[in-house]
Amino acid sequence: MKPESLANAGARTVLLVEDNPTDVYVIREVLEKCGLNLRLRLAGDGEDALLYLQSLAKTKKSSCPALILLDLNLPKISGIEVLQQLRAGSPCRRTPVIVVTSSTAEGDRAAVQRLGAEAYFQKPKSLAAYMQLAGLIKRVLASADNEI
């Protein structure tokens, strides 16, 4: 499929797992900036995210989100655990994941890479830098489309 025909086929879902409203606000802008007709589905914590993904499995496999944007520092179930469970056996285990976090810990970065996240984006201090997340999302989505 070609990208231009995608827009016509209806909005694709991006699951954002994030508890900070400011980040949600900014990422929503980022997705709009992508101009890819992306629809945001928000999960406020890790548990919410996992429940949502499990509910999808009961319906259709094809309803898996096109992309998951995952924060690590989350209430209830941490982002690392979410990633782990997703990759371990979820029907959406092939869904690309971009970890969006403020963590600078080397350990987090290594764990995320080991668990097969597609990209790691450290939340910047400046708004302008934050907007660069759009480019990353587009690259990951394009790469995922090529695989299909």
């Binding site: 400011t22 980040d23 520092n73 600078t104 810990a105 939340k123 201090k125 400046s126 708004l127 934050y130």
Partner: protein, 861 residues
Amino acid sequence: MFDFRPNGIYGKIKQMSVAAHATFGSGTDRFRALYQLLAALNRASDVEDLYEAALTSLLDATAADRAAILLFDDEGVIRFKASRDLSADYQTAATGHSPWPRGALDAHALVVPDVLLDDSLAAYQDVLRQEGIRALAFVPLALDAGVLGKFMLYYAAPHECTADELEMANAIAAHVALATERKRAEMERDRSDHLLQAIVDNSATVIFLKDLQGRYLLVNRRYEELFHLTKANVLGRTDYDIFPLESAGRFRENDHAVLAAGRPLAFEEYAPHDDGMHSYISVKFPLLGLDGSVTGVCGIATDITERKQLEAASRHLAAIVECSDDAIVGKDLNGIIRSWNSGAERIFGYAAAEVIGEPVSILTAPDRLDEMPKILAKIRQGQRVDHYETRRRRKDGEIIDVALTVSPVRDAAGEIIGASKIARDITDRKHAEQERALLLSREREARRTAELLNGVAPRLAAQLDLNKLVQEVTDIATALVGAEFGAFLHNAVDGNESFALYTLSGVSRETFAGFPMPRKTDLFGPTLRGEGIVRCGDVTQDPRYGKIPTHSGLAEGGLAVRSYLAAPVIARSGEVLGGLFFGHSAPDKFTDTHVAILAGVAAQAAIAMDNAYLLERAQWVQTELKRSNEELRRANQDLEIFACSASHDLQEPLRTISISAQIIERNWGQRLQGEESTFLRNILNASNRMIVLIEDLLAYTKATKYEEGPPPNADSARVFADVLEDMHGTIEESGAAVTAGELPMVAIHESRLAQLFQNLISNAIKYRSKEASRVYISADEHDGWCIFSVVDNGIGIEPQYAERIFGLFKRLHNREEYPGSGIGLAICQRVVEQYGGRIWLERSIPGGGSTFCFSLPSRIR
């Protein structure tokens, strides 16, 4: 008839030859016999040969049947020397019979034609008949000195001797006598030559003969031995062939002097020997020939080397005697002074001339009158008086102490002929001795005390348990001072005027139970205030005693104290640890020595207690240290974890604030007015600043993180190069020139050194003046430390801020001018201090640049 009395042997032969010619002019047989005799006599090697030749000649030249030769012996008895065909019996019987006495000057030949008819031989009739002798003739053997023997001619039948026969016999006798005499003289000469040679050879002196040319004619055995030569090697040679040129020249010179003088001369000559040059007295005299002319030089040389050495030694001894500080006096057995050296003049005040010949008793001190006769009596018995200390009187009457050594003096034969006396003035010494004896007794006392204390020291030093130590001190001290009981009381720490009983010795602890502890009263106070040792012969007589409130109690308890001794125990710090107290129920038990001992024990106890305290303290400190180290490690770990999580947890809301503010600014910034905009700006700035602060805080925490293990060696030149590369962007952008001199190896982790360089270089660049920044790093090594200098041409620092700049988050400039949180130098300081080093602002002129220095340990070799 022959005249046998010519005036000399040679003359006699001459006469005889003439006579022989006259008599035997035509008788060739006789002439031949005589010639044969002469030849035989000349050939004869000894007298026996002479006699045999004579007998042969007699029997040939006469009609005799038998013949004999008899000579007088030294006793004048005529004896057979040689014979032909005579029995031993006859010889025995005829021995001693001579018609002439020995030495008779007018002897003539006698003929007995028939023995039977001759009365003079009546006594020998039987012997003659038995031997078969009928006729005989006596022919004298004579020289100038008279008859020396006889020829006997024997005939078996009566025989009348012819004149020819007798003349022939006389002629033979003359020749034989002459030959015999000549032989005897020859033998005599041989014997005397031999004797002379023996004398010469056995002489201990060197004897030699030289001819006029100096060639050796004779040397004796001594000569051969001394110069390791044989006669064969020496004879015919000169001194120049044998001795070194110098010696030979001298010898020859002396020889010439003797030849010139024509009389004996004595010289001192020197000849090389195996053990060096020897001195000789050489007596040399001219050697005269038979005609009285000088034919050579004879020398007799005596080795006087030893004698010369003895003379020198003797002169040396005499000088020693003269120079001696001691008086050395010689006296004879009657006590008369015979010699007197300068030492004697000095000590006794008499000049030698005054006393020589005087009796030695002039020196006698009035209280020692009987002493000298006793000494002289000993000397006469050959005994010696050694180091005899006595008194003597000087010329000026002063009595002095002297030490005498008197020895008998013997002559060469060993006879005692006098005495030598050596006297030393010991007046000063005597005085010093008394002084010393006093000192010695004091020293002995001190030494005994010291020995006692020395025994104490190791016992105390070995005891590091404080309680046991104090008990030991108390026990030892109680025993050493001979107290009935002793106690160590220690200063109460509660500040009250009392003190606590620590240990007791000699009495049970119960004795003290129930009694109040003594207070710092007049008696105990000085001890516990460390004012010194208190001794009291009898406390019941001491006015201070009555004031002790415990007096009655102690007395009732059986501790009736009269002798009292106490010493403070003072620590090195000056703190009075307590006091040692001793008591005895009898008065005056404690002596000066006890005081000295106690002072020593108290000092030792103080040292030992100090040590024990120190050990306790050290042990406590060690435990405490271990515990606090552990705590510190845990705290550090916590802090690190905290810092990491804090930086995240703090940063997260900050970031949210910042992002939120940025959204407001971006979306609604245009609509904000006046102060609204300012406050939003403030929020943005503050949150950004805080983000930087938190980042720096994290960096600082990491910088102070403890590095495990000893610091490795870092190549500071390489680290510097790496830092330059890392900072390439900043340096290039600012147009700075960063250079370094030769940089050494230092004992530090490389990453830490990099932090130091980075912070200091970036500071230098950040705080640059208007001109392009220049930074120069150099290092200097000494005493195991490397001192790095970082010199810049920046804005400099006001001197009053030299310390402050190292403080955490300390800044001297506002943010707009020079951004930064002020963490750089604080990090540098923490890093440097971790390695035991120091960082400081070496030099800074506001507007004229700064020099920062830091020290690090040199590389570990």
